[in-house]
């Protein structure tokens, strides 16, 4: 009785599935590889952060413009500065339905935690969507107008000068370390959770300076609460024309945050080509271009071997920086 019923049920289920299969013949089976199920869109950071906002914008553009036949479902895996996400992708080696949004912890986390056994050169390059920029910020109530004033003020306060940033050995910490070394400062670095929180600490005068991305500090800047002093970019940013670059000031230092999409290692060539196509379309969309302009994002679309070469170069730079900081040997 029991078994009979069960087989009956399973039979019913199979019939249902088959019935659906017949009614829905894949639309363009000849047009190359297509995802068979919703694509897992892993985000290497927490909800509400810069990477998360960007991933959700990409997802929305893909859905709205119907760039893909199946939905992209975002999943946040912020654990261990991205270690969790990297290990997850490694476990999914050969899976054609897992892609990830990455930032610079893509380089630093495997370097700092060699035990994870992550080799980023095995990951499938899909597309670099943008490079985020960094500026040095102070509160606008201070009389600090340029980097010279900043150095004077910070020197006078010694280690009582508070620099807020997003976590130890993060991008912000690397930049703070650079400033300390380049100008002989002793700023105290205080790690907070998330760039938005950091921006608020400066606006609320709980910190003396920050090295936020424009997207994080823009609201306070427009409200006249904070002031950019200099940019870590090769040329001046159109949004902040009055802020010189550190290069102009004689310190040859340029630093970017990558905003890239990678696929699981060992993804098939057809699938990689498919995702590269999708994200190229996203990059070229009016929505993405508008967003880049508004948030002062830089960088062209990079893919394939060019992206791999970019990663290799960035990894070398980050290794050197972490070594200088004493974070790795």
């Amino acid at each position: 009785m029991n078994i009979l019923q069960k087989t009956g049920m399973i039979g019913l289920g199979t019939a249902l599935v088959l019935g659906l299969a017949v009614t829905s013949v894949p639309k363009d089976a000849a047009a190359g590889w297509e995802p068979r199920k919703p694509v897992e869109f892993v985000i290497m950071a927490g909800k509400g952060g810069g990477a998360d906002k960007m991933a959700r914008l990409m997802q929305t553009v893909i859905a709205k413009k119907k760039f893909a036949s199946k939905p992209f479902t975002p999943i946040n895996k912020p654990g261990g500065s991205g270690a969790e996400a990297l290990v997850y992708l490694k476990q999914k080696t050969g899976d054609n339905h897992v892609i990830m949004v990455t930032l610079n912890s893509f380089y630093t986390t495997p370097l700092r935690q060699p035990g994870l056994g992550i080799d980023i050169s095995t990951f499938t390059p899909i597309g670099r969507m943008a490079e985020d920029t960094f500026l040095l910020w102070v509160h606008s109530d201070t009389s600090i107008m340029n980097v010279g004033d900043f150095v004077k003020a910070a020197k006078a306060k010694g280690n009582k000068w508070i620099m807020a940033g997003t976590g130890k050995a993060s991008e912000d910490n690397l930049l703070t370390d650079f400033l300390n070394k380049a100008y002989g400062l002793k700023m105290t670095y205080v790690p907070y959770k998330g760039g938005g929180k950091v921006a608020k600490e400066l606006a609320g005068k709980n910190a003396d300076s920050t090295v936020n991305n424009p997207s994080e500090q823009l609201g306070f800047y427009e409200a006249g609460k904070t002031r950019p002093l200099a940019a870590f970019t090769p040329t001046r940013l159109p949004l902040f024309k009055d802020a010189p670059t550190f290069k102009e000031l004689g310190k040859d230092f340029v630093y970017f945050m990558q905003r890239s999409v990678v696929g699981a290692p060992g993804m098939s060539g057809e699938a990689a080509a498919y995702y590269q196509g999708v994200f190229k379309k996203v990059y070229d969309s009016a929505e993405w271009q508008k967003y880049m302009k508004k948030k002062s994002l830089q960088g062209d679309f990079l893919t394939g071997d060019a992206l791999k070469a970019y990663w290799k170069n960035e990894k070398t730079i980050h290794r050197a920086m972490l070594k200088k900081m004493g974070e790795i040997k």
Partner: protein, 507 residues
């Protein structure tokens, strides 16, 4: 009266036929999403976000706000009916809501929760309307020391929530705090407590995993034992007359409701605090000002209305730092923030200046959503009561399934489902020995906030504790917290001494 006119314009938008329809739809969907353990307003808002590009931004916001409020109401339903807090904001509602449902007073608890939510929402919207910009300035100056002082206060207000066995109560607090430390240490940037190097621990132990494990699985195993597999609640009934009577009784509990609303709103405003500490503190305060504090935890209506009014007031409050500072006070507002960016609205200090109609449209729709959520919630009470009357062998597997899928949904990691199962079984075994579970759940919510703010403060002060007392705001809060922490200990010592004297006399 400029603000008043702006609010009226907002209402005019909210009550257009299309928007009204969206409000009803949003509230209904939100109510059900919120009532599912594991799913809350975060999921609802995140899912609907991509769909909102089909309608104009104003309608999209209204839909999202309705969903948000519906889910906030729904969280209380799961707390009362199933004893499982659907979200951390609804933990405090379990303490008295669950015992009320077990006594057959589920309808009263539900009416109380709905009414309190409405009162909390109303008071907070009025406060928002009147004081938004100056409060945003205050919120901005809150730094790490103030945050830590606030956490201290939150711990102090619910220190009395444990059981009789002090060693077991402290054990529960400590284990919750240790579990909250699993994952990443943000100050040193190092992973920590990665048990057996399982990558699933990198993201830490989610509050929901512990809460669903304890209140869902552990509780169901416990009910199975006590009822020996018969029915859960036999005497659940609902009639119009009973609802009216309940309403009358709820109105009498206006004191904790008003207190909860104000407290919730002000705690909610502070960035990073959010609705959870607000509702816990409201529960603690309601207990300490009540005439019969001992009846708390056994099904006191005041214990339901205080946290419920506070969490709704706080969710309106947490909109303030999101809109004015661009800092999300809760995960839900974080997603809303993302949505606003996509619509081309930049949250931050300029939003109130550049996009007035958006801000007030949002506030007005929150308010309208609040009203409809109240009506819908009361209308659905018979359906919820009917669910309680289902035989145990139907209700139990459905609750188990909800727990399992609800535990999986937030992180989409089977690791969390296994962890939840282990927590559930352990919670059951420990509960039989009178280990209290609530302190652990509260500790895992507040632990990360407390530790990070403490260590950030100490880095700023180079290791000196003076920082908590030299700043006026943190100093004031810290002193109140310390007084509250010391009082029960003194009281306990006093009763001990008297007890000892009494028991020694005959001997």
């Amino acid at each position: 009266m400029d603000i008043f006119n702006l609010l009226m314009d907002g209402f005019a938008v909210a009550f257009l036929p299309l928007n009204l329809m969206l409000i009803v739809l949003g509230c209904t969907v939100g109510l059900f999403i919120g009532a599912m353990p594991g799913l809350g307003s975060v999921n609802g808002v995140a899912i609907v976000l991509p769909m909102t590009f089909l309608v104009p931004p104003a309608s999209a916001i209204i839909f999202l706000a309705a969903l948000y409020y519906g889910a906030m109401y729904g969280g209380a339903i799961s707390s009362i009916m199933l004893g499982i807090p659907g979200a951390s904001t609804a933990v405090a509602t379990v303490f008295d809501g669950r015992p009320m449902a077990m006594k057959g007073l589920a309808d009263k608890a539900l009416v109380g929760a709905a009414t309190a939510s409405f009162v909390g929402g109303t008071i907070s919207v009025v406060l928002f309307t009147l004081f938004a910009p100056p409060l945003a300035e205050v919120a901005l100056t809150f730094g790490a020391p103030e945050e830590f002082a606030l956490m201290l206060l939150a711990f102090a207000t619910f220190i009395g929530l444990g059981g009789d066995d002090i060693s077991k109560t402290f054990f529960s607090i400590f284990i919750g705090l240790v579990f909250s430390a699993v994952g990443l240490d943000i100050v040193s940037g190092q992973p920590r407590l990665i048990f057996m190097d399982i990558p699933g621990f990198f993201h830490g132990i989610n509050f929901l995993v512990l809460a669903i494990g304890i209140y869902g699985i552990g509780e169901m195993l416990w009910v199975m034992e006590t009822s020996q597999g018969k029915v859960m609640v036999s005497q659940a009934t609902v009639t119009v007359k009973r609802v009216m009577n309940s309403l009358r009784e709820v109105v009498h509990a206006y004191k904790p409701m008003v207190m909860g609303s104000f407290l919730g709103y002000f705690v909610g405003i502070l960035p990073a605090a959010g609705a959870t500490p607000g509702s816990l503190m409201a529960y603690g305060v309601a207990k300490s000002i009540a005439k019969d504090p001992d009846s708390f935890g056994t099904g006191n209506l005041e214990g339901v209305v205080a946290p419920e009014s506070a969490n709704n007031a706080a969710s309106t409050g947490s909109m303030l730092p999101m809109l004015t500072l661009g800092i999300p006070g809760s995960p839900t507002t974080a997603i809303l923030l993302g949505g606003m960016v996509i619509w081309g609205l930049e949250p931050g200090p300029m939003l109130f200046v550049n996009h007035k109609e958006f801000v007030w449209g949002l506030i007005a729709s929150l308010y309208a959503a609040n009203l409809f959520a109240l009506i819908l919630n009361i209308a659905f009470i018979p359906a919820f009561i009917w669910v309680l009357k289902l035989p145990f062998t139907i209700l139990a597997p459905i609750i188990f399934i909800l727990c399992m899928i609800g535990g999986y949904a937030p992180t989409q990691d089977m690791h969390d489902v296994w962890l939840m199962l282990i927590f559930g079984v352990m919670a059951y075994l420990m509960r039989k020995l009178d280990y209290p579970m609530a302190p652990a759940v509260l500790a895992i919510v507040l632990g990360p906030l407390a530790e990070a703010s403490l260590r950030q403060s100490l880095i700023i002060s180079h290791g000196s504790f003076d920082i908590f007392f030299t700043r006026w705001a943190s100093g004031t809060i810290a002193v109140i917290a310390i007084i509250l922490l010391v009082l029960p200990v003194l009281k306990m010592l006093k009763t001990r001494l008297i007890d000892n004297n009494v028991s020694k006399k005959p001997g």
